[in-house]
């Protein structure tokens, strides 16, 4: 976390201190509406973020043209990544990636375009998560749940996304750390995951704080721990994983911007500048607060380093989980 703040501070320094001149002073400027490629359908996480960003860009007058969201769904991001790769050199296209774009190629042979084949632009947000149970569940704390899972190995259940999703990674890390075992049940839709928990069909889930917030307020859900490095403002009394006694790394969901391969350096600088400006606006800060996201801004250079770190960590986790790793 401190490191991240240092990064943000550094990039702020770079942008404002004139280490390199503001990019928009140079040649490139989009002349046509910009196509923003996302890998989820309308209403999915990336889609909503892209539309919110498009709206803020307009409101804050950061772009001379409009942003058009294009949904290229399928293959856990593989279709969208391949589409961007095909647009090699195209100056009017960018894409919004998530961590799935890095993990999916690890297990899917067909997903042969990885983030490394595209041009990195910026990392935007880190989405923290919380671990929640139904309000009437007997577990008051995460150690309670772990103890119960140890008592009857494999009997307790967690609802979540795909096996490469953050939900499962958190489970794998906790299982490895404690020796407890519980089942992971994939539900493709976020709604189904919550419904399974509220209906009492599963015992626990990893959920985004904003989503959990309303169910907690209504008295349907209880949060046991937060998958963060330090406590979120909305959950001042809920321990982080480390504070709850589990020495596992917190795994944030990461979202950011990439461009097609082989675009000029000045374009990257331009986009880096635009998105950096965006992250300084009040609209953006309000958006982060509303959704309980963390500011995860990183410029292109740091983003590449982040790729490697993240991919290596995920490869290890997936191998341990018994998934077939192809890359």
């Amino acid at each position: 976390m401190e490191k991240r703040i240092a990064f943000a501070a550094l990039s702020a320094l770079v942008a404002f201190g004139g280490v390199h001149p503001p990019a928009w002073a140079q040649g490139y400027k989009p002349a046509r509406p910009v196509e923003v490629v996302v890998h989820t359908g309308p209403g999915g996480g990336s889609d909503v973020l892209a539309r919110a960003v498009a709206n803020m860009m307009e409101k804050e007058k950061l772009l001379p043209v409009r942003m058009q969201v294009v949904n290229k769904t399928g293959g856990g991001g593989a279709v969208a990544a391949a589409y961007l790769a095909e647009k090699k050199g195209d100056q009017n296209t960018i894409g919004f990636f998530t961590g799935v774009w890095l993990t999916n190629p690890l297990t899917s042979a067909e997903a042969n375009v990885t983030l490394k084949d595209l041009t990195p632009v910026a990392r935007l947000v880190l989405e923290p998560a919380v671990i929640a149970v139904k309000a009437d569940a007997p577990y008051k704390s995460l150690p309670d749940f772990i103890a119960a899972a140890k008592k009857s190995p494999g009997q307790l259940k967690q609802s979540g996304g795909s096996v490469t999703s953050r939900d499962n990674v958190v489970r794998q890390l906790l299982q490895k750390n404690t020796g407890a075992q519980w089942a992971f049940i994939s539900f493709p839709g976020g709604g189904e995951r919550i419904a399974a928990l509220l209906g009492g069909h599963v015992n626990i889930m990893v959920i985004e704080p904003a989503e959990a917030g309303e169910h907690i307020r209504a008295g349907n859900m209880r949060v046991l721990a937060q998958v963060t490095d330090k406590r979120l403002p909305a959950f001042p009394n809920v321990p982080t994983l480390k504070e709850a006694g589990f020495d596992v790394p917190s795994v944030p969901q990461v979202r950011g911007v990439v461009a097609p391969p082989a675009i000029p350096k000045e374009n990257v600088a331009y986009w880096e500048g635009v998105f950096h400006k965006l992250t300084q606006t009040e609209s953006w800060k309000k958006f982060l607060a509303d959704n309980q996201f963390e500011d995860g801004y990183q410029g292109a250079a740091e983003l590449v380093k982040f790729y490697d770190e993240f991919t290596d960590r995920m490869r290890g986790i997936l191998k341990e989980a018994g998934a077939k790793v192809v890359r």
């Binding site: 209403g43 294009v70 259940k157 096996v163 992971f184 919550i194 419904a195 309303e214 509303d290 998934a323």
Partner: protein, 501 residues
Amino acid sequence: MDVLSGLMQGFAVALQPANLLWCFVGVVLGTVVGILPGLGPPATIAMLLPLTFLMNPAAAMIMLAGIYYGAKYGGSTTSILLNVPGESASVVTCLDGYAMARKGRAGAALGIAAIASFVAGTVGVVGLMLVAPPLAKMALAFSSPEYFALMALGLAMVVLLAGRSMLKALLAMLVGLWIAGIGTDPFSTTSRFTFGQLELLSGVDFVVVAIGVFAIGEVLAAMQGRAEAQALPAPKGLRNLLPTLQDLKDCRFAFANGSVIGFLIGVLPGAGSTIASFISYGVEKAVSRRPQEFGKGVPEGVAAPEGANNSETGGALVPLLTLGIPGSGTTAILLAALVLWGFKPGPLFISENQALFWGLVASMYIGNVMLLVLNLPLVPLFAQVLRTPAFVLYPLILGISIVGVYSVSGSLFDVSLLVAFGLLGYLMRMLDYPSAPLVLGLVLGGAMERALRQSLMMSQGDLSILATRPISAAMLSLALLILLIPLFNKLNAWRLQALEQ
């Protein structure tokens, strides 16, 4: 707050001139989107989102919901006239709707579809208004084993969709189930039947198969005949332009059946309007006094599925508004819209946003009336499409189909898939295989597989989880019973034969 004062407050919101206007804009847009195959409500709503940031949330919600239920009205039009399903939920409408059009009763079919949509749409809103919170709680009792049983029940409907040969129907259904399996395995992320094709990773889109098998297959088969200059008989006389009193009488039960089944299935977040329309059609046929006439153009075969897919919208809004849980693509984007407008959808949403909720409910009553008034006069007009000579109409259908498919994914690969499935549809027609079971298998296959595997993960591989949970056990027994009907009939026929000898 009690229902009456809530509704009064709602009408006060919905009857404001600006909101009336937005409601009208929504339902007109919805109708258009419904008529155009391919482009569906989620994509339309997503495109209009930037516009809604400038509107007040109540007006925006009224308009977006109007698109959602308006599309269900429009979806039947191309199904009936051209055998091109406008929306996935209108596939079943093709069966009897298109058959009615071939008999020169396109007007009556379109009219019945509009009336059924109105009745069921209104029932859906009544349900949303009266029983939303308790029903949403009940829907939570449904989990993977229950969804599996529901899908199995839907699949059992195949015996009611079969033509002359049960074997051929079952074969077609199995092909549909296989197509549903193409793509990335949702659990292990392994690719299945993708042959290294990136485009197949996300599976085969249902729209591609439905339009290919129904529309393209039909055009190819008709071109082979090439006897008549006109594709279909245009309706003659007032009797065939609008539904007759007799038609409406025949549909009495279908209106009720479609409304109730559609609403109840809509409330379940994991089901969807396509299965609602299939089940409602099956039920209608099962209880009908003239089941042998189904598929040959009976009005109740149009009324039941069209009703079901309209009341489903009212049902689908129940988990969205009472729990913040979206069940379908359209409700997911509505949820995103609510969040972007600054609301917090969840269990407390309705009680904290009374004006918005009741305004929406009231606007849906108004919108349904608007849609009926809008659609009925259009019926004779649409029916004139059939006056178009075949050499114009068939290329037009092909064009519409290709554009429709391309508009869903923007991928030419899907267009070639469309051609392949068109050829398959043609072959199936030539060899007398029914196409509805194939589509049924495809619609249910994915959800059914997921539900089964989730159930088995819950029970650690023990199949008895499906039989020990009461709701699931009841639905599975019902499915089994339906599957056995043809067997009983056959046995009965043999017995009678034996008695005679």
